[in-house]
Subunit: 205 residues, 2 copies
């Protein structure tokens, strides 16, 4: 007694995955034009021609959409940072490039995607999972570079590794966290190489 | 032909100086209760029982009053910082105490005089003369401590003094500038000793 396979909704229309990306793409554009904080899911639904109920089938809330946009953007930044660090094997140079790339990516977002900036500040002040993951990724990267520099004999080994890595991250944080960076952009491009040099002096064996 | 001395207005009523302090005291209390940004000179005049015109005889604008309040508060903080630094002759310890006192004073203002906090953030974002003078005072103090530590053989002398002092100030700034400090208060008391230790490692001869 063969039964026909249950109808697959994927075949009849776009997959859930596709609809989700469609909503995220449209929302990125919409928030990019009108800002995240000031718009509602209703505004968004109207603008992209979906019903509000249909959007809620895929996302619990406006924040859930914002969170995906934020995670996408932060993934791009993390990939750029990892790539910049990967271009050299020298730990001191890796720290310099990491710092530089993070600041450049933040400034780029602030100056060229200003309307998306409020997603960044909201995610940072509410500690969204994507913001926390970004923070964690950068902290781990700092620790890896410090460990690598110690192994290569470039950095001192007396201070506990955790303490060193954490303090370095604290120096970088005002240029990483968007809530702080927005008050730090004036002069950030001159400040960060000086801070990187101070960090490297603190790491001298 | 003796003429009588011109009548002295000081004798007839309160001196300009007294009226100015009276207005500043009343405004400090008033802004402390209702905030600086949201109140006007009219509100203030009504509350302290002077006419608006009378207040304008002594101050050009609300900002001019705010500026005196801000300068008074920053003078108190600078005196506290100078006193903390003066309690030791060891340059490394002076840097630690400077950092600690600045952060404590900022936190105190934020948590205990929250309504005056918006004068602090406004003065920092608009770079009022008092905010600039405070910044300058702290920068000069850092340079003095670094010079003293170099003379005493506690600190390295290879890096140009200006570069060293400036980079140290950049590390401190997120905990000094109220625009940054308000996003940094969580964990500031743990972060600042770690940053001070990193600074001291960077200064090792």
């Amino acid at each position: 007694m063969n039964t026909a396979p249950p109808p697959s909704p994927q075949i009849r229309g776009p997959s859930d995955h596709e609809v989700r990306s469609q909503i995220v793409d449209a929302a990125t554009e919409y928030f990019g034009l009108y800002g995240y904080e000031k718009t509602t899911v209703s505004d968004l639904a109207k603008a992209i021609g979906f019903s509000k109920a249909y959007i809620y089938k895929f996302f619990d809330s406006k924040q859930a959409i914002g969170e995906v946009i934020c995670a996408n953007r932060l993934s791009t930044i993390m990939a750029a940072v990892d790539a910049a660090v990967g271009t050299t094997n020298s730990a001191p140079e890796q720290l310099r490039r990491m710092f530089k790339t993070v600041v450049e990516a933040g400034s780029e977002l602030f100056f060229n995607d200003r309307k998306l900036w409020d997603i960044a500040t909201t995610s940072a002040s509410e500690m969204w999972p994507s913001a926390r993951a970004y923070d964690e990724h950068l902290r781990t990267l700092v620790a890896q570079i410090v460990r690598h520099g110690r192994d290569a004999g470039d950095f001192e080994r007396k201070t506990p590794l955790d303490e060193t890595a954490n303090a370095i991250y604290l120096v970088m944080r005002p240029y990483v966290n968007p809530l702080l960076l927005q008050h730090n952009l004036d002069g950030a491009l001159e400040a960060t190489p000086q801070l990187a040099s101070l960090i490297l002096r603190s790491l001298a064996p």
